[in-house]
């Protein structure tokens, strides 16, 4: 079980957090992008081995979402910061 450093609350146990996958930039204006671009946004994930960006929320803490960089191989947490 990971120890996750919430950017606002500090290191807390993984059970307090909620995971929402890789953050993807929303293509806008959405109605003007191609089906392929939209499908990429919805379904394609980089699935890195190594450093990987993820969206997490401190659901049972401050309730805020943040971007975490995690090594998917070693489970080391490289950074956490507020969403851009």
């Amino acid at each position: 079980m990971l120890i996750i450093p919430c950017p606002w609350c500090g290191p807390r146990a993984e059970q307090e957090f909620h995971f929402a996958g890789e953050p993807k930039a929303r293509p806008v204006p959405a109605e003007q992008v191609s089906d392929q671009t939209w499908a990429h946004y919805l379904y394609h994930r980089s699935n890195e081995k190594g450093a990987h960006r993820e969206l997490w929320s401190h659901a049972h803490g401050c309730g805020r979402w943040f971007v975490m960089e995690r090594d998917t191989h070693t489970h080391q947490i490289l950074s956490t910061k507020a969403p851009a």
């Binding site: 929402a20 089906d35 805020r64 489970h75 969403p83």
Partner: protein, 973 residues
């Protein structure tokens, strides 16, 4: 001859006898005994039958590595079907029995399987049992094979859970571990020491060495006597998880067997020091599984630690110096001992052994164990190549030591093969872990001690103030010599005792081209039993290397996974069982529903009335009665679980318009709108009514089970996509109670509440809301319906829920007021074609499939999920669409999930399925909602579809998904 209990010595208390039973026979042990040592002392040799061939087996080891001695244990409320006799401490009144063997362990009918062993090679399951199919054989095979049987009654043991953290967690209280603990404490580190046996000191308690001029066990007690830190004994670290979280199972010793049994610890450590020691490996020879064949160090442990001499004529087969340590201890206790060493010469210890009368046969090998139910003699090939037979009742072997790298491997650590000690030793781990002593392949005491201190020094540089005088040089030793399997030996040689895997099985796998060690494991089941191959893994690998002409590291090693030893599921659950397993929300008026005799069920995490049966009414009759009462008069439903999320702020309207499918910015204050919330994929995630309370203030009512999910979505979109918008969200669900009042008499009932609220249709039309005061409390009154009747939702502070409910029930007596549950509500809404998300929809359902296409064309802003509704797939005409179905047999209710089918080229193809079905008491026929391909076209064509329900086919007519009051006359009053 069997084992004898010595008059002196060992860590047992001869003043405290313990009575227990073995297969019903009363026996006596002493405090400090394990189940295994007590059974040995009572002359028990056969402790069970093997997994596959039902061969008699005896105790082989003295710790967690034991493959054979699994027993059925009952003690008070405790029952363990596969207790490992070598690790369970004996307690008064324990009933212990064999887990396999019929009619009894000494005479086992299935023992004939052993005669057919050539027909039961590795992989025989895959090769033999495919005709007609596996299920045909499964019952018979499971009866013959397998381990103990769990009881079917509830486990009444109490399990505790504890959480702790520390600077350094030291696992293993042997020599390296206690030295590391002393050093860590001296460095001011917050330290926890975990040891799986009852005493600290590990092997020092029985190895017989002299350290610093003192017997090793006394030396260990002196070091351990002053450990000023948390020390957990009888506690086994079973799992090494991410970020240095360690799972520890502590067995609690109590005199009262009805008390708590075990504590599960979760310990988070800044640094972990593994001092987990090593497991001795056996040597292979023919029939090496006979009772009386055991590990040399186990025999030594039994005599020195438990005062049990396992036999009186003992042969020790060895390829390294440690076999002599056992020989000395056993000879000193009075046994006649012969050491059979494959090497021409041993270390200095050989001389000490010979001085206590041990006979040594150098350059000799044990070929075969003689004796069927117990060892009676040993066949040996001498240095001259001749074969001799020696009478013996115990044949012990030492094939070297394998570091206990399990936890290190679980930490993500990689292993490295060391040719000097013939072991896998720890290499690198991504976690903050250090390995010391025998677990690191360091078997020399002096080196082990300095490794312990060095590890703590590395954690807290220049802080360690504890040191020991350097130990004097130990005597000269001679290195281990590799002996995995002697190709000259014929006869069956066991590698994995618990899973009955022999050398021949591995050879078969090799000849069938199983190259990867992971495949070898799965094909032969080597190392896959509950002992996880503690005695067999390395031997199996080495044999594979030998057979395929590779080096051992090229064969690789398997990854160890938690748990290190089996852990009771009850301990994992702790107190989280029964009502605490997944605690349910209760409604504010819960007690009122209980008084009314409600039958409760779980709906989306809430414990709600399903229906309120009267007298001996059955479920069907109750639901029909409740539904009729609503349409005839007035029904009362506790809707407090409905979500209530307040959305406030200058940008609330603009934000919600970007999130919701429906137009919300133009919604007038005081009005409600039924809305969908979509995923970006366009799929309907939730539905519910949104109210506008003010320009900058909305109230959402998500489904009971989606409230948290909707809140998460709102926060996610606000924080990541639209952070500059001024809007905030508050979950008010538990602050208020909501009572739904439905039926033609609902307004009459409300008028009796004397609130002064204007209830006229002009002032309060359908889909509007107002506020007022009732019974001295502020309330919100919304006119909204999920039944198709005139209906109101009355919301008051949660603490008033019960008072309001009971007051309304009293006021409505003459109106025939009826409390209704979720089941009749579900019937009423199905009559109207109102959907339930997740029941009538699934993870592919778009708003257009539900007949709500308006907002897609009317709404100009780019709301969540809009783009996905514009793809070719979203616009296919043959998408599954929600329609109604009327079965031709109008009294027959097809099951939810029944498919509508088409016959195509002689095969059936599904074109959709029924999502809701019920018998309507108002229409006196069956109604169904269904998602059917091109469904609306079928409705327009007045077509019939074929329904396939549990093997039978029927037909049904496609109709509009609204069966009752299609004009909404009753709804609008």
């Amino acid at each position: 001859m069997t084992a004898t209990r010595l008059a002196h010595g060992g860590n047992i208390d001869r003043q405290k006898p313990i009575t227990f039973t073995w297969n019903g026979r009363v026996m006596t042990g002493f405090a400090g005994d394990t189940v295994a040592s007590a059974l040995l002392a009572n002359g028990v040799r056969i402790i069970g039958r093997s997994f596959k061939y039902h061969r008699p087996r005896g105790i082989m080891a003295a710790g967690a590595d034991e493959p054979n001695a699994l027993v059925d244990l009952t003690h008070g409320v405790r029952h363990e079907p596969n207790a490992r006799a070598t690790t369970v401490l004996l307690e008064d009144g324990m009933q212990i029995s064999v887990i396999q063997g019929w009619p009894n362990v000494d005479w086992d009918i299935f023992g004939v399987l052993d005669l057919f062993h050539r027909f039961l090679p590795a992989g025989f399951y895959y090769k033999s049992f495919f005709k007609p199919n596996w299920g045909f054989y499964e019952n018979a095979i499971r009866r013959m094979a397998g381990l103990g049987r769990a009881k079917t009654s509830a486990d009444r043991r109490k399990f505790d859970a504890r959480v702790d953290h520390c600077d350094v967690l030291i696992i293993g209280g042997g020599m390296a571990g206690i030295c590391a603990a002393r050093a860590a404490i001296s460095a001011g580190l917050n330290t926890i020491l975990v040891e799986d046996r009852p005493h600290l000191g590990g092997r020092l308690n029985w190895c017989g060495r002299v350290i610093d001029g003192m017997p090793a066990d006394q030396w260990a007690q002196q070091i351990a006597s002053d450990l000023n830190c948390r020390v957990l004994t009888n506690a086994v670290a079973f799992g090494y998880y991410d970020h240095n979280l360690i799972g520890v199972m502590e067995t609690v010793q109590t005199s009262d067997p009805d008390c708590g049994d075990a504590r599960l610890w979760q310990i988070r450590a800044r640094h972990v020091v593994l001092a987990t020691g090593a497991f001795e490996r056996p040597l292979l020879f023919a029939d090496n599984d006979r009772p009386g064949v055991m590990l040399a160090d186990a025999a030594l442990c039994y005599v020195r630690h438990y005062g049990v001499l396992v036999g009186d004529r003992i042969v020790i087969a060895t390829n390294n110096d440690s076999g002599y340590e056992s020989a000395i201890g056993l000879a000193q206790a009075g046994a006649e001992v012969t050491v059979v060493d494959i090497r021409p010469i041993a270390g200095g210890i050989q001389q000490r052994a010979e001085m206590v009368g041990v006979r040594v046969l150098p350059s000799a090998r044990v070929i075969k164990a003689i004796g069927r139910t117990a060892v009676t003699a040993v066949d040996i090939r001498t240095n001259r190549g001749s074969h001799i037979r020696i009478d013996a009742d115990i044949l012990a072997s030492s094939g070297g030591w394998s570091p206990a790298v399990h936890l290190f491997s679980q930490s993500g650590g990689k292993l490295r093969w060391d040719d000097g000690t013939l072991t896998f030793v720890p290499d690198q781990s991504p976690q903050a872990v250090r390995v010391i002593g025998a677990a690191n392949g360091t078997f020399d005491p002096a080196a082990s001690m300095s490794e312990a201190i060095a590890a703590i020094n590395a954690i807290a540089p220049e802080k360690v103030s504890w040191s020991l005088p350097a130990l004097s040089q130990t005597e000269k030793s001679v290195a281990i010599e590799a002996l995995w399997q002697d190709p000259d030996i014929i006869g069956r040689q066991w590698v994995d005792f618990q899973n009955d895997v022999t050398f021949k099985d591995i050879a078969l796998a090799a000849s069938e081209n199983y190259v990867s060690v992971e495949h070898l494991k799965r094909y032969t089941t080597l190392g896959m039993a509950t002992d996880q191959g503690k005695t067999s893994n390395v031997i199996g690998l080495a044999i594979m290397a030998q057979l395929t002409g590779r080096e051992i590291p090229a064969v690789g090693t398997t990854t160890f996974r938690p748990p290190f030893v089996p852990v009771s599921l009850g301990a994992m659950a702790g107190s989280r069982f029964g009502p605490l397993h997944s605690p349910l929300h209760q409604l504010p008026a819960h007690q009122s529903h209980q008084k009314l005799g409600a039958e409760f069920r779980e709906y989306g995490g809430w414990w709600r009335p399903a229906f309120y049966p009267r007298n001996s009414e059955d479920a069907f009759a109750t639901i029909q009665r409740e539904a009729k009462a609503v349409r005839a008069g007035v029904g009362l439903l506790d809707a407090s679980s409905l979500g209530k999320i307040a959305v406030r702020g200058k940008d609330a309207a603009e934000f919600l318009n970007l999130i919701y499918y429906n137009e919300l910015a133009k919604l007038k204050t005081g009005r409600l709108r039924y809305c969908f919330l979509l995923r970006e994929t366009g799929v309907v995630y939730d539905d519910g009514v949104v109210a506008r309370l003010a320009d900058d203030h909305y109230l959402l009512s998500p489904s009971s089970s989606h409230t948290k999910g909707v809140l998460d979505q709102l926060e996610l979109w606000h924080q990541t996509e639209y952070p500059s918008m001024q809007v905030s969200f508050h979950n008010l669900t538990s602050a208020y109670a909501t009572i739904s009042i439905a039926g033609p008499q609902s307004r009459t009932l409300l008028a009796r509440m004397e609130s002064g609220i204007d209830l006229s249709d002009q002032a309060l039309p359908h889909m509007s809301l107002t506020h007022g005061t009732m019974m001295g409390h502020k309330v919100q009154l919304a006119r909204v319906s999920f039944t198709g009747e005139r209906a109101y939702e009355l919301t008051m502070p949660a603490g008033q829920g019960r008072t309001f409910w009971e007051h309304l029930m009293n006021l409505g007596q003459d109106l025939g007021i009826t409390p209704i549950g979720i089941e009749s509500l579900s019937l009423l809404r199905a009559e109207k074609g109102y959907i339930l998300i997740g029941t009538d929809t699934d993870g592919l359902t778009l708003p257009v499939d539900l007949g709500m296409a308006g907002p897609l064309t009317a709404k100009k802003v780019d709301f969540v999920g809009k783009r996905s509704l514009l793809t070719p797939d979203a616009m296919r005409p043959d998408r599954r669409q929600l329609i109604g179905l009327r079965p031709t047999d109008d009294q027959f209710v097809p099951a939810v999930g029944s498919h509508a089918i088409l016959q195509v080229d002689g095969t059936r193809r599904s074109i959709g399925w029924i999502t809701s079905s019920a018998f309507s008491p108002h229409l006196n026929h069956t109604i169904c909602l269904a998602m059917i391909e091109g469904g609306r076209g079928l409705v327009e064509a007045n077509a019939h579809v074929t329904i396939f329900d549990r093997g039978k086919t029927t037909t049904a007519r496609a109709v509009e998904a609204c069966f009752f009051d299609q004009q909404g006359v009753r709804l609008n009053g």
